[in-house]
């Protein structure tokens, strides 16, 4: 038995609609399971929260990127037109800040966008082409019409037969072992 426990990644239950998956997730969390994840072909409201994953870190990176970009943009223009090579352009002041706004703004946006994209990738640990859950035959439908809940073996409460029973209790259509 312990052998098996080490050789598997976890147990995966399949559900045939989002709501069952949501209930199952809530149930599992209530039962004290922590190391688990739910899989669905589209975002499901409250699902991640019900799994205890409710922090939003992306906004911070976006803000950071935005500020960085804006400062870089204005800084560059200031340095070029006032410090490095001040030139008399049509009698305008060296620091014609109103004319520096567009570039400042655009660079802010650009960096903010990078912030959003990168943080999404990093927080989701992407790219990650290999993952144990892909070992499950039926998991293919997770990207079209399948709904899955997977409790991982690392979870302290995990006990193969017990957990299997528990999952089946939450109207799973099918429960399979996920080999690691």
């Amino acid at each position: 038995m312990t052998m098996a426990e080490n050789s598997i990644y976890g147990l995966m239950a399949e559900y045939d609609n989002p709501d069952d998956l949501l209930h199952a997730a809530q149930g599992a969390y209530a039962a004290g399971y922590r190391k688990m994840d739910a899989y669905s072909p589209m975002p499901i409201h409250d699902l991640s929260e019900s799994l205890g994953y409710d922090k939003h870190r992306v906004p911070f990176f976006v803000l950071l990127g935005g500020l960085l970009g804006a400062c870089a943009g204005f800084g560059l223009q200031y340095w070029v037109s006032v410090i490095e090579y001040p030139l008399n352009i049509g009698g305008r002041p060296f620091l014609s800040w109103p004319m520096f706004i567009p570039v400042t703004f655009e660079l802010g946006i650009l960096f903010a966008a990078f912030g959003a994209m990168l943080s999404m990738f990093i927080l989701n640990g992407l790219p990650q082409h290999y993952h144990p859950v892909f070992n499950v035959e039926a998991f293919e439908s997770a990207s079209s019409d399948g709904f899955f809940l997977c409790i991982e073996a690392e979870d302290p409460q995990f006990e193969l037969s017990e957990t299997r029973g528990f999952l089946e209790g939450l109207h799973a259509t099918k429960v399979v072992e996920v080999e690691s």
Binding site: P43, V80, L110, S119
Partner: protein, 471 residues
């Protein structure tokens, strides 16, 4: 899978955004089948035609690089011609995509879900076409290609940041990058679907790489939704800024007919106007050819028409304001400019512009027109042409008679002008055709959200009853 029947217009309730009887399974099958099914002859012919058109571009550019911009109808005083007209035209078209994917998302307009994907694709290819012109319209593209970028060079000189053209460089490149990111972000889960649905191993691999191992886990969705929401959030001011900056190319200048404060809003509205026209020009055929009536329903046509009508009215207001200020400013130059537009040598262009952009769109007040694909197609065609004419009026008609009567002259287009314009249309179509073949034209994830869920009564996840702003 249920073959979708055309929806009957329900006089009381607004038409649904998703045909009845569609399930997660049917949605996936229907949409991915466009890609997985075998290539049709029609598609090959279409691509061939697009390629042919694209040759015009290659020809035009080669000739241009050998001879110089003198092959166009340019002169002093008309230093800008079709190149800049086309640039503004394409950029404008691009805007609808971002508007649909970003602004309507923020407004929780779920009817956008089924059109945003190819609207975004449209944006990407339109901007690619647009970007050709600022580069090739310069006298020396071989240096313009990098001298407009701020980089530490051995000359110790830098770009001149007070020039709207530099603003353009930053605005357009940012716009392109952000649109690309946003588009790709939306594609990742769909790539995952295709990774799992594709038949050949090789295509599974390719889609797999693009899907970067997407598992659709709750955590993925958690960050994914936030990221796309924020991208939408920053794209909104971006899309507004881009066309404002494009309008600065003119309004910062002192040419009568350019130097007007109304330009930014008037250009942005014009962009959306033109953009939606183009979405319809492409959407209607695609819908018919691939039988997507369940996903692009009459509800969509209706709403898009309303958006066009609204923005069209803003544009008309813009024309009115130009007239008003020409009179109110009491500047002889402004006054003459307006007279010259209406009664000068380019009056034909001006009045056909009024016909296309002001008169024809008024038909959209009529519901039956809004719901008739054929009528709608014709109207949007008029608008496509009209918006090109608007840029012609702004660029050429303003320049050819400005301050010094001694320098007044005429502008006549040449073969060189036509080649490049036709060529970019080729590039654009080619891009769209390839896109249709290899990527889901409709965002499957977002369509799935429209499927009614039993647990939550009969309501889809998002509130479908919210009406479009134009109503």
């Amino acid at each position: 899978m249920a073959s979708p029947a055309p929806i009957q217009e329900d006089p009381t309730a607004p038409a649904p955004v998703l045909g009845p009887g569609q399930t997660y399974t049917t949605i996936t099958q229907k949409i991915s089948s466009i890609i997985t099914s075998r290539t049709t002859v029609g598609w090959i012919v279409a691509v061939a035609l697009a390629l042919g058109l694209m040759q015009c571009f290659l020809l035009g550019v080669t000739w241009l690089l050998i001879k110089g911009v003198g092959i166009w109808g340019l002169n002093i005083p008309v230093g800008w011609g079709w190149a800049i007209i086309n640039f503004v035209w394409w950029i404008g078209i691009g805007h609808a995509g971002t508007l649909i994917s970003a602004i309507l998302l923020l407004m929780r307009q779920d009817w956008r879900n089924s059109i945003n994907r190819f609207a975004e694709a449209m944006t990407i290819f339109a901007v690619i076409c647009a970007m050709q012109f600022p580069l090739f319209h310069t006298g020396r593209p071989w240096v313009a290609a990098y001298w407009l970028l701020p980089y530490p060079n051995s000359m110790g000189v830098w770009p001149q940041f007070r020039s709207p053209l530099i603003w353009d460089v930053f605005a357009v490149s940012t716009y392109f990058t952000v649109s690309l990111l946003f588009w790709y972000l939306g594609l990742i889960p769909d790539f995952a679907t295709l990774r799992d649905k594709a038949k050949k191993k090789i295509s599974r691999m390719i889609y797999g790489v693009l899907a970067v191992g997407w598992r659709g886990s709750a955590k993925h969705w958690h960050n994914y939704e936030m990221a796309s929401l924020l991208l939408a959030g920053i794209s909104t001011p971006l899309v507004l800024s881009v066309h404002s900056i494009v309008s600065f190319d003119f309004s910062v200048g002192l040419v009568p007919g350019w130097h007007a404060t109304i330009f930014p809003p008037y250009f942005v509205a014009g962009a959306v106007f033109a953009g939606f026209a183009m979405v319809l020009t492409l959407g209607l055929p695609i819908r018919a050819i691939y039988g997507l009536h369940d996903f692009i329903t009459d509800r969509h046509l209706n709403n898009m028409s309303k958006v066009m009508l609204a923005t069209g009215l803003v544009v008309a207001y813009g024309y009115g304001m130009e007239q008003f200020f020409a009179w109110y400013s009491a500047s002889p130059y402004e006054g003459y400019m307006m007279q010259n537009r209406m009664h000068g040598p380019y009056q034909f262009e001006y009045w056909s512009l009024i016909l296309c952009n002001v008169i024809v769109p008024q038909f959209l007040w009529i519901k039956s027109v809004r719901l008739n694909p054929y009528a709608l197609f014709v109207v949007s065609m008029f608008i496509n042409v009209g918006m090109w004419l608007e840029r012609f009026m702004i660029v050429v008609t303003s320049l050819h008679r400005d301050y010094m009567p001694s320098s007044w002259d005429m502008y006549h287009s040449t073969l060189g002008d036509w080649l490049l314009y036709a060529g970019t249309i080729g590039i654009f179509l080619l891009g769209m055709f390839l896109f249709i073949r290899v990527m889901p034209v409709i965002n499957m994830v977002e369509i799935r959200l429209l499927v009614p869920r039993k647990g939550h009564g009969k309501k889809p996840d998002h509130d479908a009853s919210t009406e479009v702003s134009a109503e």
